[in-house]
């Protein structure tokens, strides 16, 4: 139904003072067959996000050709 994203950088934590870890956080708003809406959130590191992006590019290419 909807998708929100943000790009963040984790700067510091209790286990590591200097994290400097960039990540992409996504929230998907999904409707199940009954119409019930739930929010699903997850984070990706930049390499994980690149893979995510690549999968969508592949899908888009297939959708174009079908």
């Amino acid at each position: 139904v909807d998708m929100k994203w943000k790009l963040g950088v984790a700067m510091s934590s209790d286990t590591c003072r200097s994290l400097r870890f960039p990540y992409v956080a996504v929230t998907l708003r999904v409707a199940d067959p009954s119409g019930q809406i739930t929010d699903k959130s997850f984070e990706m590191s930049i390499p994980q996000f690149k893979n995510f992006f690549r999968q969508f590019k592949e899908m888009a290419a297939v959708l174009e050709t079908v």
Binding site: A10, S13, D14, T15, C16, R17, S18, L19, R20, F21, Y23, A25, L28, K40, S41, F42, E43, M44, Q48, F52, Q55, M59, V62, L63, V66
Partner: protein, 94 residues
Amino acid sequence: SIASADMDLNQLEAFLTAQTKKQGGITSDQAAVIAKFWKNHRVKIHESLISQSRWDNVLKNMNWRVDLKSQSRHVDQINTPVAIIEMELGRKGQ
């Protein structure tokens, strides 16, 4: 201290030199061993510390499929390509 600050080589050298000068500090041989260890393992250690600081859901797996709707109650949906995506989300280790 080295891991927590994710020291680069300059910072490392300065830090270790300071440690060798302290009373009850390390020897320069020990400093050299620590420096070599950090240079070799810095990335892995940093990644491990990062993963200890991530506790939200991650995308564990993703599968997708493109279907072509050929027949439907609603005529305007015929020959509509649809992408169906399955995402597995979970805490790391789950």
